[in-house]
Symmetry: C2
Subunit: 378 residues, 2 copies
Amino acid sequence: MNRYDDLRARALLSRIGEPGNLRLARMVDQIGAATLVDRLFAEGVAGVGRADLAMRMHTVDPERELAQAARLGIRFVIPSDAEWPIQLGDLGQPDTQQECGGGVPIGLWVKGPLRLDQLPRSLAIVGSRSCTTYGDSLAFEIAASVAHAGVPVVSGGAIGIDRAGHRGAIAAEGQTIAVLACGVDRTYPQENAALLRHIGETGALVSEVPPGCVATKSRFLVRNRLIAALSVGTVVVEAAIRSGALNTLRWAGSLNRVVMGVPGPVTSAQSQGVLERIRTGAANLVTSGPEALELIGAAGEHLVTPARAPARRRDALTRRDQQILDAVPKCTRRPADSIARAAGIAVLDVGTTLARLHRGGLVSYGDGGWQLTTGAGE
Amino acid sequence: MNRYDDLRARALLSRIGEPGNLRLARMVDQIGAATLVDRLFAEGVAGVGRADLAMRMHTVDPERELAQAARLGIRFVIPSDAEWPIQLGDLGQPDTQQECGGGVPIGLWVKGPLRLDQLPRSLAIVGSRSCTTYGDSLAFEIAASVAHAGVPVVSGGAIGIDRAGHRGAIAAEGQTIAVLACGVDRTYPQENAALLRHIGETGALVSEVPPGCVATKSRFLVRNRLIAALSVGTVVVEAAIRSGALNTLRWAGSLNRVVMGVPGPVTSAQSQGVLERIRTGAANLVTSGPEALELIGAAGEHLVTPARAPARRRDALTRRDQQILDAVPKCTRRPADSIARAAGIAVLDVGTTLARLHRGGLVSYGDGGWQLTTGAGE
């Protein structure tokens, strides 16, 4: 008989362990959270070799943790729950780890009506906090486009590209999820207070750290793996060379998710990181929501119609006819033999062709010469 | 004994045939220009099945053509000449043809001191005539960068990106070549009169059509194959969906040259064609001259140093030290036990770490609390 059941043991470990702690994640995977907690209590530091865990566990009451969270409208979702997003299991693969840590989270603290197991294929949209208006409007448009198509938008709740992505999804009346590096009860960043409240009421706020915890640099880095792992693909809209958003792309790549980047001016510092990823083949270039959907969709599910210029009347002509049409002047009139010379074609051939072009309304005749009709050269 | 030697026969064929005429190119390849001309005179239309050729050849005196060209400072370079750029031989491969024609040119009319056989690996820079200032300045900078590195810039002498490319090469005191769709004696477009004159005096003006000929739409299309074939790679800087510059990229691709595109804002019509080519994998993304040089250079010849943000002091810290540093406040002071709680680390560990960070000048101590020093969090 364990001291705590799986849920309570995970709640305790979530409070005392640092997210992304691989050793902790591995022990939970090997012996289970309840047994690990028992061992911690029985053997103290010697049991797990971590003084900090052993010293803090006595101060934590998981029952109270869960009750306090529930009062704030926050649930604690663990792998055995029906709501657990099974795609996070990919984080258990050893080649997905980074220097900052990794692993399957011990549990997720969730606030909001969106159930994580009912997420259809979702798209992560990430990028610079200090984005340009170019990046802001593109993130918004791409998010609105994919959300309108029924694909939830996952992002990090930050200012800049994250905010634009969340807002685009909301504007399109689609679903959006913010995965935070702090507790889901915290309003951070303060600038996004209204946005985060709205997402907590209509979508989902998700975090690996319990309510009350603050965001730290290392928590941002391991948080990024959840954004990447929850989604089928990640689009980075703007990112300077050393942007945290590129870290999310790396997670997406190591998790075999679809990695995408939106290009921008090569003269923009905020596009340098994205362009570098596209150039080196680490990310696919996308310019719009439909293109991102095509890449993350099942084959044939979302197909982009190739951009095409409108068809022109001269496209229907043979090459020879076009060659003659090219030699017909726009602003003056010229006789057939002069057109023949300019086109490098025998006069006899030119005559019959000009007659045919005349019937097609592409050239007009008058005063002994031929001239293009308006729009014929277009 | 032939009526004309190879040079004169080719000069005649260059005058009466249309550039890119595959049938003509194939006959020249199979029986030689001199024999083909003899057959044209002997058998007339029946000999080659082309009324226009047969009717025009009697009016052309190749001796006079060559003499008139020479008076204008124009030489006619043919495959047997030492100056012939041998890379044009790739145009004889059947899979390089397009709807508009193709094939090895019968000869090249050249004006300018640059010898075509002495071209080192050159780079073609092409793009929209109606470019934006963004594309204009990038084409200029890329051209200046590669020309400065000793790589000649090949373009089409048009306004817009072509002009910016030529001018960049000239500004860097490098070599540049304009391949025209009209005769090299013509000043077309008029806006580039000074530029074309300068290239004719310092670089080379090149055309497949004899002096006096005008540019037509089909001549532009087959001219593009020469730009692509002369160069090791082609960079398109700006091109709308239906830009002629994309045609040059297609030629470059079918000739196994390096195909490159410079990205721009996805909201810019002038970048749509380029982005589409990069997105579909038809072109490599490049953002600068050095990147283009790296792609066209021999392995290791031109290596781009990856863009990196400057190293920061915190990069040298262990992950655990960084985690503690993250918990030290910037604007207030906080005691060690409070920092330990925020970092999720035992107080004992925090004390020794803070002392170490203090020695490193990253944190300061006073009034019973720790605080970041200026710049430590950067």
